[in-house]
């Protein structure tokens, strides 16, 4: 067997598919030929090391947030009729109250407000300036289905839905610089925006034990928005990056809605 013969039969023999006719000649040649021996050894090492690469990467937490939101939207997630006490701990963002179901129309105004802002920002692609960090404002009028009375203070009437975000957002005029703060090299966590502070204030009042959790979730989603914005600024033509930024705004809208729905 020659070196050319070895290269020709390698695809069949390398992965352990024994072939009596060629196997012995192959092995004899490889033992005696340094170049072919190196080749076979290298290819085996590549194959074995590659196997170690499976399941080494971890997706960002936002992937699950998006999946869960979509499952809810499609009605694939249903409240259990009787939740057993030994049921697994529910993720913190899941509304566990059996009193009210997740209704789409609650999501609409909040999501629409943030989505509209996201769309505006993404389509106008503001200059990457350092701006006052705030939740994205709506450039247009707030969505048609008006939400119930929005509580501006922590003293929220039980019947009303504390939903400061959309009202506040509608009141603020979005400008090209009214984006989540972006610095050239953010070294520390930026100060929460006015809307975020108000949101956390409501959470602190209605569910103090949840504040730390929602604060960290808010930091994470704001970091996603900043990261997505920064990536889009570096790659303005990247449609996936624009969509990613949109998704990040949507997640923030979901976070507001889930939290406010939970703490009623």
């Amino acid at each position: 067997m020659t070196c050319s013969d070895v290269e020709r039969v390698l695809p069949e023999l390398l992965d352990g598919a024994p072939d009596g006719e060629f196997q012995t000649a192959f092995e004899t040649h490889v033992k005696s030929c340094p170049a072919c021996s190196d080749l076979v050894s290298d290819l085996k090492v590549i194959a074995s090391e590659a196997r170690q690469l499976a399941a080494t990467e971890e997706p960002a937490p936002r992937v699950w947030v998006r999946i869960a939101a979509e499952l809810r939207a499609e009605g694939l997630i249903r409240e259990p009729e009787s939740a057993p006490k030994s049921a697994p701990t529910r993720p913190i963002l899941v509304p566990t109250s059996p009193r009210r179901r997740w209704s789409a129309w609650w999501l609409a105004p909040v999501a629409a407000a943030l989505l509209a802002a996201g769309s505006y920002v993404v389509s106008h692609k503001p200059a990457p300036q350092v701006a006052k960090q705030q939740a994205p404002g709506t450039p247009a009028a707030s969505p048609a289905p008006a939400p119930p009375a929005v509580a501006q203070t922590p003293a929220v009437a039980p019947a009303s839905v504390p939903n400061p975000a959309p009202q506040q957002l509608a009141q603020k005029s979005a400008t090209p610089t009214a984006i989540v703060g972006l610095t050239a090299a953010p070294a520390a966590e930026p100060e929460p925006s006015e809307e975020d502070q108000q949101f956390l204030s409501v959470v602190s009042t209605r569910a103090p034990s949840m504040r730390a959790t929602y604060e960290s979730q808010l930091q994470a989603v704001n970091a996603d928005i900043r990261e997505a914005q920064a990536y889009l600024d570096r790659n303005p033509g990247d449609a996936d990056a624009r969509q990613h930024l949109m998704d990040a705004y949507q997640q923030k809208a979901l976070l507001y809605q889930i939290a406010l729905d939970r703490i009623q």
Binding site: P11, D42, V45, I46, T56, W64, L71, P88, T89, L93
Partner: protein
């Protein structure tokens, strides 16, 4: 995002997910997220796209979970679904799923190109990061076959069915992919040796 305590087995999670329990979906997600995402990332070499593809794979799985009867392993079912999602995306983008070289070269008699120092040996351990980078450099068709076989462990007959090529084609593509990777890795190693 907090991981839910996995007090239930995968089989129990599957049954509860069929009933629509969110915690069960989340258990299944966290059990398989790395495998799914890693597969997507290896195939498309883009973290943003990989996230979208992983999301879509899980959504398709959860939409169809009511039809899962346990004839095959759940992970196998998810694995296949993920591969199909990725391949569909590649086809949508017009990227070759299988290398076009196979259709252009009837008989690969041409000497293989080797670049980099010929005297640099690759035998021994391979830097995993360099291997990842080398895989990213592979043409999409080669990368698909290599990832499916050597990274994910699919057999050639499975790859042939998934990708739509012959078993011989799959073996040939894999071999060429490995040869290219060997060249890339030797080049990287030679470059590293030069810079010290």
């Amino acid at each position: 995002m907090t991981d839910p305590k996995q007090r239930i087995t995968e089989a129990e999670a599957i049954e509860q997910a069929k009933q629509g329990h969110e915690a069960a979906f989340e258990v299944l997600y966290h059990l398989h997220k790395r495998r799914v995402y890693s597969l997507c990332l290896r195939m498309v070499s883009n973290p943003v796209q990989a996230e979208d593809l992983a999301q879509e794979a899980f959504l398709q799985l959860f939409r169809k979970i009511g039809t899962f009867r346990g004839e095959s392993a759940f992970s196998t079912w998810l694995h296949r679904m993920t591969v199909n999602v990725v391949l569909m995306q590649l086809r949508k983008k017009g990227l070759p799923v299988v290398s076009l070289e196979e259709t252009l070269e009837a008989d690969d008699e041409a000497p293989r190109k080797e670049f980099g120092a010929k005297d640099v040996r690759l035998t021994g351990s391979i830097d995993r990061l360099q291997l990842q980078r080398a895989i990213d450099r592979l043409p999409p068709g080669y990368r698909t076959i290599f990832v499916l076989h050597d990274v994910e462990g699919f057999e050639h007959n499975e790859i042939a069915g998934i990708v739509g090529c012959s078993i011989g084609n799959s073996k040939s593509q894999l071999h060429k992919a490995r040869l290219k990777l060997r060249d890339y890795l030797k080049f990287m190693r030679a470059e590293k040796a030069k810079t010290g």
